[in-house]
Symmetry: D2
């Protein structure tokens, strides 16, 4: 069976990181993309602070990073289930990929130097993908968890 190459996945990551304007605002980097798991990271910086008293990460940054990790996992899933699809058609499919809904649970204040958003597949199908995500800091503290449903058809 043909499988998606690591090269194609790296290309996908590069496009997402460079070409999505808001991902540049967040400073998202793609660390690991494989059929089972996607990991994104970003560093703490002043613009991402939500609470000026405590200096913790803005909840919106957390949900944005988790949604991006989930959407990327769904995209990788689309690529894997379409291994022989031409890159142009694949691009069209990926451009149509969208978040249907997401739930984020904030467990601990977002403190740390660097954050890691990890996504794993819960359910994959021809139309909908359900993905579980979590955000940890550099000391592995679990800051937030999320579940997202994505349209992948």
């Amino acid at each position: 069976m043909a499988t998606i190459t690591q090269q194609a996945l790296s290309k996908l990551a590069g496009i997402f990181a460079r070409e999505v304007p808001f991902n540049r605002v967040l400073g998202l980097e793609f660390r690991d993309l494989d059929p089972e798991k996607c990991v994104l990271s970003f560093k703490m910086k002043d613009e991402l602070v939500g609470n000026f008293v405590t200096g913790v990460l803005h909840g919106g940054v957390i949900s944005a990073a988790l949604d991006m990790a989930g959407g990327t996992m769904a995209a990788v899933s689309v690529m894997h289930s379409n291994p022989l699809t031409h890159i142009t058609e694949l691009g069209r499919k990926l451009a149509r990929l969208s978040t249907i809904d997401i739930r984020v649970d904030y467990l601990q204040p977002g403190r740390g130097e660097e954050y890691f958003a990890t996504a794993t597949m819960l359910r994959t199908g021809s139309r909908v993908a359900v993905v579980r995500m979590e955000l940890r800091n550099e000391t592995d503290t679990l800051i937030a968890v999320a579940t997202g449903t994505y349209m992948v058809a």
Copy 2:
């Protein structure tokens, strides 16, 4: 009964808009704050784009704006239930206010010139507030809805 003044609410809005770094990134403005409803707005700009093919708003921007509207509604609720509390103590209470969880449903692609995030209370108590939010554009298209649970104790 003592009630919170419009002046105090405007002060709250000013602090949130100016002092929360990530809100400045999003360009959030506070349009309407009253005991029943909070309305925030922000204008489309290049940094907020999520899909470089279609140019629509990043899902993370949508959830951040909705969470901010919900959190502000919860803060206004705290102020209303503590009308005689000194501003310093009130500030302490508001600094502890946090999102427990949020669910966002993305209904339409985020297209438009300007967006309005509206929040209304679903449940208010001494410890937890549940808030409903929605995002519309300048033509009143419903783009997303959300429900958030906030710790207000």
Copy 3:
């Protein structure tokens, strides 16, 4: 344009109420089914109690009734978008209809003699429907709200 008849909708309601065993356990009745809104009702009875100290409705009964109202709304939506489909094929489509996810917010303890679960469409498409639901008692107290995502393809 051909539209679904009220007779067909009543038939659907009859099948759902009689043939779904767990709906008989709950005592669900279909009160109103139209393209915009679905209303189900059920009466309080001993088996539905969740808290034996306070005698309130079990949270699982609330979520089951809300999910049923949402799923019915999605089914009515499928029927409306397939007005010329033969009843056999329609039955096949409806048998495949399923809940992808649901979020329920419990706002007030479930007290009352009779409960009304109302569903309205938030988003409808060829593959996924997003429905908003609420549960009220006979005095119109809002007990719970929910949002459900349904596979309708």
Copy 4:
């Protein structure tokens, strides 16, 4: 440090299983209750069927069982953080325990002979507990996952 005894936990399980009427409808049994994890089980039976064509479990049964597992986990957490509290006062605390919100993701049709609802703590505090739940059948197929937020104060 005083800790809650296994005897007290068994007593709690017995009360929940016998005295909550709707739990008897579902046939819920408490299999494992410890500070880290709660496991409930129930057997397939005709009344629990949701789809009369395919014979699968009603979604409402799934969410009810998951909510019960989550609420029990939260109750065990309350008992553990109040090891010296008199049983009467503890009973009062537990009677006030309530679900704030729950999200359920349905991953696979509910097929099987017996089902196991497992709950683990995500966040525990003096006022709110966040619990993760999953439902598997006797062949360990993952049927649904959920996250619930509970008021424990």
